[in-house]
Each structure stands twice: as C-alpha cells, then as structure tokens.
C-alpha cells in the first residue's frame, strides 16, 4: 500500500514538474514571495520566455 502511495506521489510530482507548478514554488521560495497573480505573471515572463528560446525535439 505504501509503495502504491509512493508511486502516486511520484506521478503527481512529475505532473507538477511538467506543469511548472514545482518550478513556480521554487521561484516563490527563492524570491521570498507569496503566491499571487503578479508573482505568477513575473514567473511566467521569466521562465516561459527562456523555455521557448531552446530548440524542440522532433
């Protein structure tokens, strides 16, 4: 049962990582900010611009 719980936790963590939600959390911690529309927009403007500069895989 604990293995199953661990797998589900890992899967959710993976989804959060792919969704940039973990990165947003790290961004808030690094800047000492609380979640807010402004913080999210600032995070998006930095992270997404950087992300779409890199080539994508075929």
């Amino acid at each position: 049962m604990s293995h199953l719980r661990g797998c589900v936790r890992l899967l959710l963590d993976l989804l959060r990582e792919l969704a940039d939600e973990n990165a947003y959390r790290r961004h808030l911690a690094a800047h000492g900010e609380k979640p807010s529309p402004e913080a999210w927009r600032k995070f998006c403007d930095e992270r997404l611009v950087a992300r779409f500069v890199r080539p994508r895989c075929c």
Binding site: L10, D13, A19, W40, R41, L48, C58
Partner: protein
C-alpha cells in the same frame, strides 16, 4: 547465492532477447504476433542499459556520486535545481519524445516490419542511447553548456559556428516536413480540421485562465483544456455530418498549408503565455497519456502483424518514398533509433537538474530506450493494418492513380490485395470521406491506433479513436511548429543583432515581425512545395529531414568523440566512433543519392532534368507549375549539399583535434568544471 541468481536472471533475459530477435528475423510465412516485437525490444533495451550503459558510465565516464553536479553547485531555484531522478526522467522523456519516432517507423514500414524494427532496436542500444548519455554527461560536467558551446570549446570556432548554422537549417526543414504531415492528415477532413481548429481558442482560453483567473493552476487548466478537446472531437463528428459545416471545414492541401503558415506567424509573434505555453502543457500531457494508452492497448490486444517482414520495395521502388533499403530505411526511421535533436535537449535543461552524476545513466540512456520503444509501438500499429490498406492510405495519387479503383488495382497488383469498396468501408467507419492518398504517416498511424484501441473497447468507437489519434498527432506537431518558429526567430534575431543592434532586441516589434515572417516563410516555402508535389512531398522532404537529423547526430558524436579522446586517448573512442562511422556512411550515401541519383524519383537533379525535358518537349499541362517544381528540385539539391558540406567541416575539424591529441601535438585539455565534493543530503532530492 544472490549473485548467482542475479547472473541467471540476466542470462535468461539475454537468451529471451536473442530468441525473440531470431524469431522475428527468421520467421517466414506464418503471421507474427506483436508480443514478439515487444519482448525482443524490451529485453534488448534492458540488457543494453544494464551492461553497456553501466560500462560506459563506470569505466568511460567515471561517474562519481561524490562529485557535486551543476544543479547543486549553481543552484538558483530556477533552472539549476537538484531534482528527483524519476521526475527528471519523465521530464527528459517528455522533452525528447516528438512526432519523429511515431511517423518515421510508419513510413519505413513500406520495407516491411523487419528492417525498421531491427534498426530501431540495434540503433538505439548502440547509437541513440549512447549519444544522449554521452552529451548529457559532457554537458553535466561543463555546467550545463549547450552542444554549440561545447563544439566551440572542445573542437574549435569552426565547429561551433557550423553546429549553430546546422541547427537553424535543420529547424526549417523539420518544421516544413512535420507541418506537411499535419496538412496531409487534415486535407478533406472536416472532422479533423474542426477539432484542430478548436484547439486554438481552447489554448487561448487556457492562457487567459492561467494569467488572470487562476494564476499558477496549470494542472487544473490542463484538465479543463483536455475535456474541451474531447468535446471538440465529439463535436467534430457533428460538423462532419452537417452538410453546411462540413463544407466550411473541408479544406484543400494548399488552403491548409496557408492556414498553418499564418498560425505559425501569430504563434511566434504573440506573447508566449497566450497561446504557446498552454498548448505546450496540454500537448505534453496528451502525448504522455497516449503513449501510455498505446502501450496498454498493444499489450491488451496483442495484434498479429499483417504486413510481411520484408516487402518487394527494398529494391527502391517504394510508393511512399523512393530509395533502396540502404540507406533510406535508416534515414527514414530517424528519431526512433538515433536523433541529433536529442543532443540539444541533453545539453539543455536536463543537465542543470541532475542531482547525482549516476542519475545521468537512467535519464540519458534509459529515456532514449523508452523513446525507441515508442517507435516500436508505432511500427506495430502500422504493421497491424492489412498491407493493402496501409499502402492505399500512404501512397500518393501521382504513383498509384487518382481514382480509388485505379489505386486499389495498382496496389493489389503489387501483391497487397485491397478494393475501393474496402477502403470506402474503412473511411465510413472512421467518419471520413476517403482515406486514400494521405501520405505522411499520421493517418495510417491513427488508423492503426484506432484499430488497436477499437479492438480493446469496441469497434463502434473507431471514428472517435481515429480522430482522437489525429488530434493527438496534430496537437503536438503544431506545438512543435509554433515553438520551433519562435526558436528560429530568436536565433535569427541573435544573428541579425550582430549586424544591426536593434534587430537583436527580442521585444522590438519591427524585429519580431520581420524575423517571425522570415522564419515562417522559409519553412512555409518548403511546406507549400511539398503540398504541390505530385509525388506527395514526403518523397523529397522526409529524406531531407532524416539526413539533416542524422547529420546533427553526427555533429554530436564528433563532439563526444573529441571529449573521449581527450579523456582516454584512443582506448574508448570506438564507443562513439562506431555509430559515427555508420551515420556518416548512411547520411553521405543518402545525401549523394538524393542529389546525383539518375533515377528521377530519388535524385533531385535528375528530377529537375526530367521535368525540364518534358517542358522543352511541350508535354506538360501547367508550365508555371513545372518551372516551380524544377526550381524546387534544384533548391532541395542545394540544401542537401549544404548539409553535407557543413558536417564535413565539423568532421574534419574534429579529426584534426583528435589526431593532434593522439599524436601528442595538441594538449588534451578538458574543459570540465573542477571537482567539488557534494553536500547534498538524500532527503534534499
């Protein structure tokens, strides 16, 4: 005792791999079950990962978990961040998994399932996985530097500039060819076109939702977006059945090409958060979900392979693309066995997030093995279809004939029986007017996937599954088109900024519009050329893309070989030289044939000469169109030649450096970051 048991288990897996590979390779006459392919692939990957991958990690790279990685040393909570091994594995896999491993094997199935399957498995274990692992390791030891930076530092300035120009050119060809796959899948299909058209307002809605209504709730909005896309698929059926709306959404190839070009321009110029990012999130989740679903479907249904192991088209007369099995099978498979593009990902985000050096082993080697398995699943999906249906869907009208009856007769004459009535029935079952002449791989893959999904949950939903598969393919191909256009725009802005500074400012609107338009027009030109090509476009563009992609892999392997020579002299250089020598042989043979072959369906120059002769003889119906085709064939020859010259440059530079190091004339100076002892605690990962 435990050790002996371990040895026995690995021996059993190795024997099973050999037995399954021999089974599919030597079997003739009796139909083969797809499970054999799955067993052969999985066992070979596992053995390759455990023994070859570990050998490279331990002996060649000297991976050391005591050495702090860039994620720890340069930690900034942004891009440098120690990340859980399995999360990073998923992240890396999602980044490397594109349409290539799905489309390439489907096209290569024209040679039969055997050549492609063997190359996917062997090429991945000895080539693709090694390349990804080596570049990931090299970048990780160099603070996450990119392939271009490593080429410049380890080989020289020429190598670095060549790598950058090669990447930009490859992006242009890649975008054109994958956009062509989408256009060929959607032309004359109101259901598919409506569904894909709906994904655009859905993405904008998701962007606004994230920006203004529920900031940060990406998983929540992705789930909403996915439900809306499913509704769009269901609505698509209604559109296809409505005479008025079906007419609105039934578009020709050229009309769809123009729509995709316009979309590409806006996606590149609009703010990222509005369209690109939400599409990217949605596409990533759908992609991973469908790959998982397809694996489950294949294991559940275990379809028999209906395509023969080897077809008559190994002689080069294939209807989908012309060319003999060597070198064209290896060029066509592309990403399922080895992909140059992976080296850009392996030297991008991933090396900055690795917590322990040994994590590079499952992430670099393992994720590529999984990608290769996706290619095996695509091969199974294509081979599960009746061969006549497979060729009817994929063969261009210019080769098999315009009418369904004529096409069916031609294909049946090749020994793959199919009737026009049978094709009409397949089309009716999936809710399409016709499935004929849809060259590009996407529709036949969707048909194969629908067949597998339909067999597990009921054939009455075949239409839904077919359009679900088309939506999945088109969604993430278009995401690649818009993201790729933006990347190309930034590269061009960076280049032009050296000539005139304001052009380098990424937020200066005139520069944004000019560079976006330039990149869109560059790939749009090749796309439009492919749409008008009477041979279906795939015949000329896919091999060009395959050559370009494999040449980029050759660039990456040149960098890896140079680093290996600097580390160990000649001792381990065979690890990268082996796949490098193969790739150079394959790509240069294919490139030479594509330019100089006297067969007009293969050689661009021969094709131009044939058209010119017809023009002079006055036997062409449309003079302007023929002149454009002549120009396009010559342009393709020039592009192919440029690729070969660029790679010769980097290969020569790499040989010069390696020779210098091996003869002691050049200092073997590695540019790795210095050793720092890790302080990362296990609970921090």
């Amino acid at each position: 005792m435990r050790k002996i048991l371990g040895h026995l288990v690995w021996a059993a897996i190795s024997v099973l791999a050999a037995f399954a590979l021999a089974g599919i390779a030597l079997n003739r006459g009796e139909p083969v079950n797809s499970v054999w392919l799955v067993v052969a692939a999985v066992c070979t990957y596992v053995v390759g990962f455990r023994f070859y991958g570990r050998f490279i990690g331990a002996r060649v790279m000297g991976l050391n978990n005591d050495r702090a990685t860039p994620a720890e040393r340069l930690r900034n909570g942004y891009d440098y961040e120690p990340t859980n091994k399995w999360i990073l594995f998923g992240h890396h896999f999602a980044a490397i998994a594109g349409p290539g491993p799905l489309v390439g094997p489907v096209l290569a199935a024209q040679f039969g399932y055997l050549p492609g399957t063997l190359w996917i498995i062997i090429g991945a274990v000895l080539g693709g996985c090694v390349q990804d692992f080596m570049i990931l390791f090299a970048s990780m030891r160099r603070d996450g530097k990119s392939l271009g930076q490593m080429a410049r530092e380890e080989i020289g300035r020429v190598g670095g500039v060549t790598a950058l120009v090669t990447v930009l050119l490859i992006i242009i060809i890649l975008l054109a060819v994958i956009a062509l796959v989408v256009v060929n899948a959607l032309k004359g299909s109101p259901w598919g076109t409506f569904t894909i058209a709906c994904t655009m307002p859905i993405a904008v809605f998701m962007g606004l939702y994230l920006r203004y209504w529920r900031p940060g709730k990406v998983l929540e909005v992705s789930l909403i977006g996915f439900l809306l896309v499913v509704l769009a698929i269901i609505g698509g059926q209604w559109v296809a059945e409505s005479p008025t709306w079906a007419r609105v959404f039934t578009l020709s190839g050229p009309a769809l090409a123009i729509a995709v070009i316009i979309y590409g321009f806006f996606a590149s110029a609009l703010p990222v958060w509005l369209l690109l990012a939400p599409r990217d999130y949605l596409s990533t989740f759908v992609k991973l979900g469908v790959v998982f679903l397809l694996a489950a479907g294949i294991l559940l249904v275990r379809p028999q392979l209906q395509l023969p192991p080897v077809t008559r088209f190994v002689d080069g007369t294939g209807p989908i693309f012309a060319g003999t099995i060597f070198p064209f099978c290896f060029i066509t498979i592309a990403c399922g066995a080895i992909s140059g593009f992976h080296s850009l990902i392996s030297s991008g985000t991933t090396p900055k997030m690795i917590a322990r050096e040994w994590h590079a082993w499952p992430i670099g080697y393992g994720a590529m093995a999984l990608e290769s398995f996706v290619a095996i699943m695509a091969m199974i999906a294509a081979s599960a279809l009746p061969p006549g249906v497979y060729f009817a869907v994929n063969s261009p009208a210019g080769v098999v004939g315009e009418t369904p009856e004529l096409a069916a007769a031609t294909i049946s004459g090749w020994g793959f029986p199919v009737t026009a009535a049978e094709m009409r029935e397949w089309a009716r079952e999936v809710g399409e007017h016709t499935l004929m002449h849809r060259t590009g791989g996407a529709p036949s893959l969707a048909l194969g996937m629908a067949y597998i999904f339909g067999s597990s949950v009921g054939r009455q939903f075949l239409g839904f599954w077919y359009h679900f598969a088309i939506m999945f393919e088109a969604l993430f191909i278009l995401t690649l088109v818009d993201a790729g256009t933006r990347v190309g725009r930034f590269m061009l802005q960076d280049f032009l900024g050296h000539i005139w500074k304001p052009m380098g400012r990424t937020s200066w609107m005139p520069s944004v519009i000019f560079t976006s338009a330039a990149i869109v027009l560059a790939w749009g030109y090749f796309l439009y050329q492919g749409v008008l090509d009477p041979l279906g476009g795939i015949n000329s563009l896919w091999p060009l893309f395959g050559i370009a992609n494999q040449l980029l892999a050759a660039v990456a392997l040149c960098v890896a070989t140079t680093i290996l020579v600097k580390m160990h002299g000649a001792r381990y250089m065979w690890i990268t030289c082996l796949p490098l020598a193969w790739l150079v042989t394959v790509t240069f043979t294919a490139g030479y044939q594509k330019i100089f072959s006297p067969e007009p369906r293969i050689g661009f120059l021969a094709q131009a000469a044939q058209l010119e002769a017809a023009l002079r003889a006055g036997t062409v119906a449309n003079v302007a169109e023929t002149q454009a085709l002549i120009f396009n064939a010559r342009l393709d020859a020039v592009v192919c030649g440029i690729f070969l010259i660029l790679v010769l440059l980097i290969l020569g530079d790499s040989i010069r450096v390696c020779y210098g190091v091996l003869t002691g004339k050049k200092e073997a100076r590695l540019l790795e970051a210095p050793f720092v002892m890790t302080r990362l605690k296990p609970e921090e990962i």
